[in-house]
Amino acid sequence: MSMIPVLVKREFTSRVKGASYVVTTVIGVLVFVALSFLPPIVERFSQSMAPGHIDLVLYEQPGESSIFPYLEEVSTLREGFTVRSSSGLSEQEAYRMVLDEGLSGLLLVDGPLYTLVTTDGTNMMLNGEIENILNQAVSRGNAARLGLSAEDMASLFSKVDLRVREVSPLGEDGEELDSVAQAQAMVLAYFLLFMIYMALIMYGNMVASGVAEEKSSRIMEVMVSTVKPMELMLGKIIGVGSLGLLQFFIWIGTGFLMNTMGSSRILGQVLGAGGAVSTIPLETVLWFGLYFILGYFFYASIFAAAGALVSRVEEVSQVVTIIMMLIMVGFFAAYASFLNPNSTWRSLPR
């Protein structure tokens, strides 16, 4: 009769009520809840940061071809942007006008040199916005000089969306993906990779310190006199693993709940499914489960071995650091293989 179920049960029940487990679970839940409220908050902040009105006075050196008509053209397209010419005023008088009327700034144009004179010089949003507007106006000016129409301009800057259809050597037709779908697939893979990475470090550490605790509290001696060491290790790894799974279920469950309740649909977006989590292919989920379990067992055994090397819990962190590096190497290797999943070194393990 195997003792593994008894050991797993002990491992699970004695930890699940522990303060550290409860606290990390609750913090994780709070993080997921906070995440789902984050987008609206960020949106509100970025709105308050964006410059509402941009009102410029243009001061040009006489004799140059004026950019003013093109700026005016842009102002008709862009809401909240006005521009007026300082014709007839000196530079000093023009700036006085900006100050008196509380405008955004004075734009000095001297050949290819554009200078913004303003009291709000550190406002990056304003500066960027004005640069943006200027670029539009200058492009329009250049187009007009070259005799291009607006349509010509549009076609000049049009971009291609490369669609990819993977076909197997046997001629089997694959799915056709556009660039958005590709990016989403990658984000999903990255998210899952990160979950594995996190789980390995969190629960691997738990396994290592559990082993060290058994050694330091001397219960190990009683245990090995009746239980096979292999059973002892498997009991610990499975016990901690099921704790981890429970924690992940709670977190992801919170995410789903917030996703269906809230308007933000952050989880769906993060997972690259455009708001609908159900569009993640089942196959991906199953592969994830398999690799999660294999990876967990592999690394957890190494963590257990590390825990057995030391005799006190305080020393665990020293040996565990090495394994963390190993996991990090794996993490970066996985990350690198995103770029070309069929590269030689990625396919080596096959």
Partner: protein, 298 residues
């Protein structure tokens, strides 16, 4: 029908902890495993339990090697006590019962029974870490015996227990002995060993120094100890050659008889020195045997 340790040797790097040690423990006996600190007692126990393997030799039970025996066969109380500090007492005992092969029902029933027996009912829902050292030891001792193992190996089971609990544990051990269980235990307290054990092995530096039935061992040592109490000149013995004082107590003095000293001569001298209250020729105590066998080296 016994446990046989046959020429077991265990080395740790260049230290030989156990050196060609042989002894036999009869099935159903209460066996004292004695030796000074660092003699190799714990190592030998670990070898018996198959926690570590000997470099040479083997331990057998009725001719069988030990790892063939079932889970519930052993009960082991290590010298360095250890329990899971976060678990509750009843929960922990149940767990120990289960890993020793009891089913859940039986484990629960036995836990209850032993908690009653050791009168720790009010502690049963406390965490191990909240208990005193002595109570932790009680819990662990129960954990060793909960499944009524065939072979109990107890390393210093009495250390740290108060007299009440020492008596309780002795009682429990004697009960197990009556049920035919084999019990091996080590102790520094020779009086306890003398009280309980019939057979002993005394080891020193990993080797067996004395081995066998305690009574026979004592007999073979000879009646060489003299206890005298008298009112009068208590220093009369100084005039008798070959009489060596061993211990001086308030109620009597103890001497070792040298070779060729006739106890009758001593009695004669004592009577001349005063009123003899006590004159007794006794076997050496285990304490004295221990000191003689091991102390000679020190």
């Amino acid at each position: 029908m016994s446990l046989v340790a046959d020429e077991i040797t265990k080395r740790f790097r260049d230290v030989t902890a156990v050196d060609r040690l042989s002894f036999t423990v009869q099935e159903g006996s209460l066996f004292g495993f004695l030796g000074p600190n660092g003699a190799g007692k714990t190592t030998t126990m670990r070898v018996i339990l198959d926690i570590i393997r000997p470099d040479e030799g083997k331990v057998t039970w009725q001719g069988q090697t030990f790892h063939r025996l079932g889970r519930g066969f052993f009960g082991y109380l290590p010298e360095e006590r250890g329990l899971y500090p976060k678990m509750r007492v009843a929960e922990h005992l149940e767990f120990l019962g289960r890993i020793h092969g009891l089913d859940r029902r039986k484990a629960q029933a036995e836990t209850e029974r032993w908690i009653d027996r050791f009168e720790i009912g009010e502690l049963s829902q406390k965490r191990i870490e909240e208990l005193s050292k002595g109570n932790q030891q009680k819990v662990q001792t129960i954990g060793t015996m909960l499944h009524d193992p065939e072979l109990l190996i107890l390393d210093e089971p009495f250390s740290g227990l108060d007299p009440v609990n020492t008596a309780l544990l002795k009682e429990v051990l004697l009960e197990a002995h009556k049920r035919g269980r084999t019990i091996i235990f080590s102790s520094h307290r020779m009086d306890q060993v003398e009280e309980i054990c019939k057979d002993i092995v005394l080891i020193d530096q990993g080797r067996s120094v004395l081995h066998g039935n305690l009574r026979q061992i004592k007999k073979s040592m000879g009646r060489q100890i003299l206890r005298i109490a008298l009112e009068g000149k208590e220093d009369f013995w100084a005039r008798i050659p070959g009489l060596e004082p061993v211990a001086s107590r308030s109620d009597y003095q103890e001497f070792r008889l040298g070779d060729g000293v006739d106890p009758n001569d001593v009695l004669h001298a004592a009577m001349q020195a005063g009123q003899v209250i006590r004159f007794e020729l006794v076997e050496p105590s285990l304490d004295q045997i221990f000191v003689e066998k091991v102390g000679a080296r020190v």
